[in-house]
Structure formats: C-alpha cells, structure tokens
Symmetry: C2
Subunit: 316 residues, 2 copies
Amino acid sequence: MKALVFDGNLQLLHDLPLPVRAAGEALIKICMAGICQTDLEITRGYMTFHGTLGHEFVGVVVESDDPFLIGKRVVGEINCVCGSCASCISGRYRHCTRRTVLGIAGKDGAFAEYLVLPEKNLHLVPDTISNEEAVFVEPLAACYRILEQVTLQKEHTVLVLGDGRLGLLCAQVLKTAQCQVTLMGKHREKLYLLDGMGIISGLIHEATGELFDMVADCTGSPEGLPFALQVIKPQGIIVVKTTIASPRDLDLNSMVINEIQIQGSRCGPFPPAIQALEKRQIRVSPLISQIFAFKDAVAGFHAAMQKGALKILLHM
Amino acid sequence: MKALVFDGNLQLLHDLPLPVRAAGEALIKICMAGICQTDLEITRGYMTFHGTLGHEFVGVVVESDDPFLIGKRVVGEINCVCGSCASCISGRYRHCTRRTVLGIAGKDGAFAEYLVLPEKNLHLVPDTISNEEAVFVEPLAACYRILEQVTLQKEHTVLVLGDGRLGLLCAQVLKTAQCQVTLMGKHREKLYLLDGMGIISGLIHEATGELFDMVADCTGSPEGLPFALQVIKPQGIIVVKTTIASPRDLDLNSMVINEIQIQGSRCGPFPPAIQALEKRQIRVSPLISQIFAFKDAVAGFHAAMQKGALKILLHM
C-alpha cells in the first residue's frame, strides 16, 4: 500500500505491506485524512517519531473481530492504551504510561491506504456527516477536552488566542457553552471565517486591555502564554492547547500573585464532537484550504507548512 | 517611633511619626514580627516598594472605632481592599485591583513600633498562642490557601519541594488533609525538624523517580518548577507558592501532553491557621532561628539573608 512516511525525510512509499491487525484491532481503509500542526512538528523533530504520519482520519472498517463493524464508516481515538498501568487503573486512559499514539508515538498513522486501531477506539460516523467534516472530529474532540477541564458559565468571558486551525475550532466549541467568546489572531481574513457565529474577534496587536476569565492559548507560539498572562483576570484559567517551544521571559510572578491556573490540555472526547457536527453547531468547511489526492501527499504536506494555510486534507 | 525602612537602602529610623489611622482602621502596637522571603526580595528590588517593611506580626490594638478591639492581641490580613472594584464585587477580595498590601505595596508595614490596618483585617489571638507562634499565622494562612484551591484526598500523594520556612510549614499544613506528604529539600538538618510528624522526607538529589498527585513548589528557586514537572503524575497539580525568577528551559510540552495544572497561590485564610496553632497541629517553634531586639533589626535582616537561616523574629 502507499503511505507517507517520515524517517528523517518525508516521502510517499508505494510498496508497503498492509499493517497487521492484532487481537481486538480493526483494519481500516482510509477515505480521508487531515494534516495537523503536530504532523508538521514531527518532521521538525518533535516526539522523535519515525513511521507513517497522520492521526486525523475517517475510514471504513474492512476487517474486524466484531462483524457489526465491517463496512462501517469510522473515526478513531488516537491513544492505544494498555488498560492495566497505574494511569489506566485510575481512569486516566489517555495518559496510559505504555500507550502508543497513532502517527505520533510507536504506531503507524493515517497518511496511508490502511491503518489498524483497537476496535474500542472507533466511533461510528453518522451518514449526515461528510468525510470532509469527519476528519475534524479528532481536533474538535481536543477542543471539547477544555469543557471537561473547565466549568464555564454564561457570565464568563473567554478569549481564544490564535486564529489557526485549532483556534478557529476552539472558539466555536467554547461558544457552545453559551459564554462570551472572543477570538484574537494576527490575520483579519481568518477571523472573518467565524463571522455571524456570535464570536467577537479582533487582532492581537489591537487588544484593548480587557481581561478575561479564561484564555485558551492556541497560538502554537512561545508568545502565546506571556500574552495570556497579561490578559487573564486574577484567579483566571489559562488553558494551553498547543505544544510550544519554551517561552522566554515568562513572568511567573504574576501567575503566583494573581493566583492564575495554567492547565495543559490534549486529547478529548469524540462523542460531543460527532454530535456537534451532526447538529451543525460547528462550521468546519471554511477551514479547509485544499484537498490533495493522496498521490500528491508530499505536496499537500508542503502546502500545510505555508504561512496562512488552514486545514489541508488528503483524499485516499 | 522606630521603623525599619527600605528606600533603596535599609535602615532603622528612630523619629518617625506614628501612622495615621483612617476611618475603619485600628492603630496597633507591634509586639513581634517575622522576616519573610518577600521582605528580603523587596530589598533586591521586588515590587519596587519603598517604605516600612514587614507583614508578619502580632500586636495589641491601642486605638480603634470599635471599643471591643482596644487592648486585644491581634494578627492581621495584609491585603487592604476597596470593596467596590470588579474583583471585590466578585468576591475575590485579595485580588482587589486597588489594594494596598502591608509592607509590600502602598502601605507601611510591621517592622515598626506601630502600624494601622483596617479593623476588618484583624483576627483575635487566643491566649494559648504565644507571640512567637502568632507571627506564623500569616505564612501559615498562605499554606492553608492550597487546601482552598486543591481538593486532597487520603489516597493522594503530595510532594512539598523546598525545606525553607515556607516548605516546612506547607508540609505540615498539607499533612492535616490526611494524605501522604513527602518533603524534599537540600538540607538534611532542616528535613529533620519535622521528624515524628508522619511526613516522609528526603534530599532532592536522591529522588527515586516516584511521581506525585500534587507538588507544592516552595523552593523560591527557578529550579523548582522544572523539577516539579518531572515528578508530577499525568493530570496532576503543581501549586507554585513562591514568587520566583523566570525559569529557563521550562519544558511546557510535558505540561500540555500530561495535562498538568499549574496553580499560582498567594495569601490565605487566617482562621484555620489560628485554629491549627491552638490545637497544636503545627509545630512552628523549631523554625525560629533567632529573635532580635528591634533596635538590632538591621542585623536581624542580615541574619535572615544567611544561607540556612530559618525564621528570624523581631521583638519590639
């Protein structure tokens, strides 16, 4: 089969064997996959992962121990867990100490014609959700993680920092909590994408000095957290969503004096993400910059690295 | 009156007028005061405060609008708040945007023969608590703040990092939550001070790799937080208690991936601190390095700056 492999270099290989299904795993034929910032960072050395990239996908189950799953269109949670380590026993499955992570750590990913994943990781995709939408379930789930970690009320003011792929999704997800959501970024043309959704938007360098109850840092930049610390209310919460390089000149004194909470946030629950797409609560189509045929995956990858690119999809 | 004043230089002045009592304030004759790390940092430029230092004290009310208070021995909360700003209205009084802070910001402090504080800031000291113990109420209250911010259960493992004044108090306060508390520091002779209190102790450089549900950083060092990030469990909480210089090489990726919460923590509630001293739950006497007569306050200050010094008290 074909797969986009990173082994120090990024290349589309054509003659790889199909991945081998272990007990409890399903073999899935990929329909479509999305390129994420993490994929780009892996090619810059992040996580020291070598193998088939990709973890945002929708596909069809072709082999499974569970006959019900055969032929079903699915998306899949990316953490493959042991179920028996201290983290798993305490219910923190996504933090399994022995986990592999699809296309990120120890497990070949979704930029391929086929992948294998544990059946328990799979979620059915309703017919009303297109493939183009379904590839957003995984990053959307990561946004819903914030609503598991932070209790937002109507009167809370929330700032999403960063108008990239994750920021645009995050602002929409947080808006479902009925609170006041502001999205700040550096690109007026991206901020426009959420017009008419009840989300306030503005350019970071035009910030007015308003303070917020919660800030979600989706900048992917070392400048994100220092800015968040400037615009957070005392006792406020900063959720850090993206893995970032070490910030410099980070004034942690203000974090202590103002009793700020900084909360790391990673993967999240799939069901609310699927439901939100089904109910048309989240607008994902405007976030698609381009769809590449899989044979042009390397070109797609380079397109995703361009300044201003939003979501690049690969069509298998 | 005499007062220990910092105006770029630190000096004991002898002929200052008594502080003037505003409406709602009490005039207090200081009996004893404690030197805190924050006092030392102010003389190194922290908070750019100029004036009479000191915020840990016990004294006797000599003038007040409330006749009940006259002659009573009191300790006092250090944040003087407006009651009408957004923070105050939302109940976050200690984060009043117009606050002055005793001996730290905008208000002359406790290293003096007299101070003034709002009557609502005062707490009566029971007769069973000595002056030497009562000066620990303010830093102890700051430790109790952690129990307001974090819900600790019996099965939780907690690490207090730093065997200085604050770490030694913090370990004892967290132990009152019945969880497993470990204190790690760099000085075997300080760790011994809590022997027999059911607190596990060890040297930081001999750490075994055990992971903890919560870590309280009381190191006052930029090395504290990076170490805390190494020994915290996934989804664990790091409480940062001390104002510290900017940490370098802080790997915030691990905070995101492991979904760690970093919580700033400052001043806390006085009543549980007073009760704990009354019930002899907290051992403070071993933390007193030396008591200086107030005329020797400058020498006391320099003693507090010595490596290995614990609490230095000033006796007025």
